[in-house]
Symmetry: C2
Amino acid sequence: MRTPEVTVTDTTAAEALRTLLGGRPVGIVGLGLMGGSLGLDLQALGVEVHGLVRREAVAERALERGLASRAGTDPALLEPCGLVVLALPLDLLLQPSPSLLAALPAAALVLDLGSVKAPVLAALQPRLPRFVGCHPMAGTAEAGVEAGLAGLYAGRPWVITPSADASPDDLHLAETLARAVGAVPVCCDAVEHDQAVALVSHLPVLVSAALLLAAAEGGERAEGDLAGLTRQLASSGFADTTRVGGGNPALGALMAEGNRDSLLEALALYRQQLDGLTAAVTRQDWQALRQALEGSAAIRPDFL
Amino acid sequence: MRTPEVTVTDTTAAEALRTLLGGRPVGIVGLGLMGGSLGLDLQALGVEVHGLVRREAVAERALERGLASRAGTDPALLEPCGLVVLALPLDLLLQPSPSLLAALPAAALVLDLGSVKAPVLAALQPRLPRFVGCHPMAGTAEAGVEAGLAGLYAGRPWVITPSADASPDDLHLAETLARAVGAVPVCCDAVEHDQAVALVSHLPVLVSAALLLAAAEGGERAEGDLAGLTRQLASSGFADTTRVGGGNPALGALMAEGNRDSLLEALALYRQQLDGLTAAVTRQDWQALRQALEGSAAIRPDFL
């Protein structure tokens, strides 16, 4: 499990959040990694959390783990909430169930935590009087009711992609929530967000998965025990480069589906760069290859 | 710096190494990361180390750091050695200087530590009466006389690629050296080694470098501050996937040059896999994409 670099929450923001909520609970729909972690952090700040899930067994386990103050499958749990956070998989955000939409209190601000923003905005904005899209850039390889952990958001960017007609008060509440759990709010346009995460988050998944598939294929095609040798010789460099490609397949496919256009643009850019490196190797232009690698080495610190 | 998982050297092997050397020193040509680390470990085992370098200032620093018992630029340092390890960059192994070749004692077993084996074997084998190619799969991002660290080889595979006419005694000495510093000897054919490292070591460098170049290019081509946003939103997944692509450019180019044929084969396989994933996204076949990602996730544990 990831050890957060910053575990101190912003106490001023926590105080502001409690004031803005005025004693009303926060509703969290879905108590997996994102929702469960948020539930733990909010309760630690003295905020009551109502968790809505789809199965009784999950609600019971969530209560055992302390992910919410109350948890269950009854949509009425959301009624008293002043703020509801949709911590659901992307497909359920893009095609929200009518019963969920009906359960969201008209007076509450609704946030989602989906990893793609423009399509979610298009799906939810017209249906909700108060909605602000969010994407906290935090995660682990875990999923489900056992995955939530305290401090997940600490020190991480929390992207907020308001629509043009979002009210300043709603934006302020979303920002205050982010700060209260120790995250760093980053406001930007939903389309720009989707382009950025296509490049630094979704593209790496496919780049990395293709490497795993190629290494396996290369080992199996050869005579002798090349497959065994590749497995013996793979070291920390291979492990690092393939980590995200060995992640949750369902999540990877959902992100690609939700962010298809930006991902295809990113893939086209990637292919150009890979073709350029391959061409240098093919024509034995070691000077050009070295210059390209000097370029990539010079770029990397900017992203860290 | 990397913390070795296994720091205990093999004391039986260390004893056997001292016996095989019969009190003669081990010569190490080059006291950078690989040679300096080996020098530290061998001296800790009670073996005398003579280091041959190209500049007096490096020799002085190597002695200050304790990388060798004696160090200097005089080839005569190698004369008393029963074993000489060429810890040189790949280009100097592929085109060894006549003065170096002349300085290698005819009675000594010579090993190299280069990351590509078939071309090194072709370059050195005909010129040396006793030669065995080695590739210890260990490293850090550091280079030069400050890079060497104790325990670098502990727990790591140490590939040995003997030619058909290598003597069993020479092989045994190479294996004993590897075990003495805590490494795990792996004997295989030189061409198979080169194919394997093309897939799990050299291909990842280009795959990873192309990702950095594409992310930077994508950010800069767009309007607004997409470049800044990509840098803000890049998280641990991007950092991991791009680590080897941000490494030593000279080393990356040398490995590609030394292992060109196998690397081009690996690049072709990679491109097929990437094209397959891209096609699934293009035709919106999310079932196929998910299956491919399930495949890559299932493969990865075999490589760890």
